[in-house]
């Protein structure tokens, strides 16, 4: 219908000072400037943000959900990476 489809951009918003930008959704736009304007209009109509990032969706490399086990399972057995693995006598108090 539209003769040419506009590229897709992922939108990230920093909601408050000190917080990380967080993914909120996506917009279509011909270029980065217009993507930023569209993101502002679409996702921050009620003061939801202090800063907006737009990233071409095609630039994101994602892990394959099918590789989930290969990617993340190895950490499950490494319990020594957590503080609770180490025993500290009660008398020592909070550490």
């Amino acid at each position: 219908m539209s003769d040419q489809s506009w590229p897709l951009w992922e939108v990230f918003i920093r909601t408050r000072n000190g917080l990380a930008h967080r993914h909120v959704g996506s917009v279509h736009a011909v270029d980065a400037t217009m993507a930023l304007h569209a993101a502002r209009d679409t996702y921050t109509r009620r003061g939801e943000g202090l800063s907006v990032w737009v990233v071409p969706s095609a630039s994101i490399t994602a892990s394959d959900p099918a590789d989930k086990d290969m990617m993340f399972e190895p950490t499950a057995s490494k319990i020594y990476r957590h503080p609770t693995f180490y025993e500290i006598p009660d008398e020592v108090g909070h550490m």
Binding site: S2, D3, S5, G25, V30, D31, R45, P65
Partner: protein
């Protein structure tokens, strides 16, 4: 609801299904895990969701027309600003939903084309006219009220992008309902003529609003699979009853009369009983023969054609900027 027209047999050929994969998928859904865009999913789940989210998006966009009709004639600057903001929100909701549907592999252009060609449906409610200012109050109070009743459980839908879009939409939707009810209060406390205008609007909209929840459960074709996949959490009749129970006291507060002589509170069940809904009217409107179906489609097509230059200009501008950027290093040498 906004997707009530889904109640048709799917004409696409049955997708090949893999019983083992389907069982794994169902186990994830049963465990209340969210399904994300790249996850494996049965073809029928993908197709049902794509149709549902697209219909929902189309409803938001077409829904801008009956309200947009009153922006220039709003009775005060305050009401005008609120109505503008509301219509702008509906456009935003359409945008969130198209984006959610696109994650399932259908492009926004394809969905738009299906709407403009008449292949895709939108909610029957937007095929009714907004004849007086009181209708704008009713649309906020009842149409958005019914939408909220349906959309809150959708925030827990099994499909992640849809559920997240619904969270955002529900937050914004409560302003819509409150501004509508405030309009109703102003009219009902106003002159006898204003009160009468409010009553007439309720008379015209009540039954079509109840139809928004879709056909009764016994005639609903997809309830079973939609519930099993946790796309739907409540049946059409359950949601309709919840809505009536919540709305009748609000109407009583306004001192309005619902156009249903059978409407009676049942002390035993603690629910309001209601009269028979005219499902032939519903079917007629969904099939394209409601009071405004032709006008809405004409407006949508005209809008798309009239805005073609904006899309072309945006593309031309982007091309020009790209060419300039490419030419720049040469010019600097």
């Amino acid at each position: 609801m906004y997707t009530q027209a889904l109640n048709t047999q799917d004409s696409a050929p049955a997708a090949k299904s893999d019983p083992q994969a389907d069982a794994r998928f169902q186990a994830r859904v049963d465990a209340e895990e969210k399904i994300e865009p790249n996850d494996a999913m049965p073809e029928a789940y993908r197709r049902t969701l794509t149709r549902q989210i697209a219909q929902h998006a189309h409803s938001e966009i077409v829904g801008m027309l009956p309200e947009g009709n009153w922006i220039t004639r709003a009775p005060s600057l305050k009401r005008k600003a609120a109505l503008l903001a509301k219509v702008q929100d509906e456009g935003g909701h359409g945008a969130y939903l198209y984006a959610a549907a696109e994650t399932l592999g259908t492009s926004r252009e394809q969905m738009e084309e299906q709407l403009l060609s008449g292949a895709a449906k939108y909610s029957s409610i937007f095929n009714y006219p907004t004849l007086t200012w009181a209708d704008i109050g009713i649309v906020g109070w009842l149409v958005d009220g019914a939408a909220i009743m349906n959309q809150i459980p959708l925030c827990r839908c099994s499909y992640g992008p849809y559920a997240r879009a619904m969270v955002r939409i529900c937050k914004e939707e409560s302003f819509h309902q409150r501004q509508g009810y405030e309009i109703m209060i102003a009219l009902c406390k106003g002159t006898p003529a204003q009160k009468q205008m409010a009553q007439e609007a309720l008379n015209r909209w009540w039954w079509p609003v109840l139809m928004m929840f879709g056909p009764p459960d016994k005639d609903s074709l997809h309830t079973e699979s939609a519930m099993r996949w946790k796309i739907k959490r409540f049946t059409n009749d359950e949601l309709r009853q919840k809505f009536i129970d919540a709305t009748v006291p609000q109407g009583q507060f306004l001192d309005l009369t619902f156009p249903d002589p059978a409407l009676k509170f049942d002390a035993g069940t603690q629910h309001w009983n209601y009269g028979d809904i005219d499902w032939t009217e519903f079917k007629r409107v969904v099939a394209g023969d409601g009071p405004c179906n032709r006008q809405r489609m004409k407006q949508m097509r005209a809008k798309h054609a009239d805005n073609a230059w904006v899309r072309e200009a945006a593309n031309a501008y982007a091309r020009k900027r790209q060419q300039r950027a490419a030419a720049m290093p040469i010019a600097a040498e």
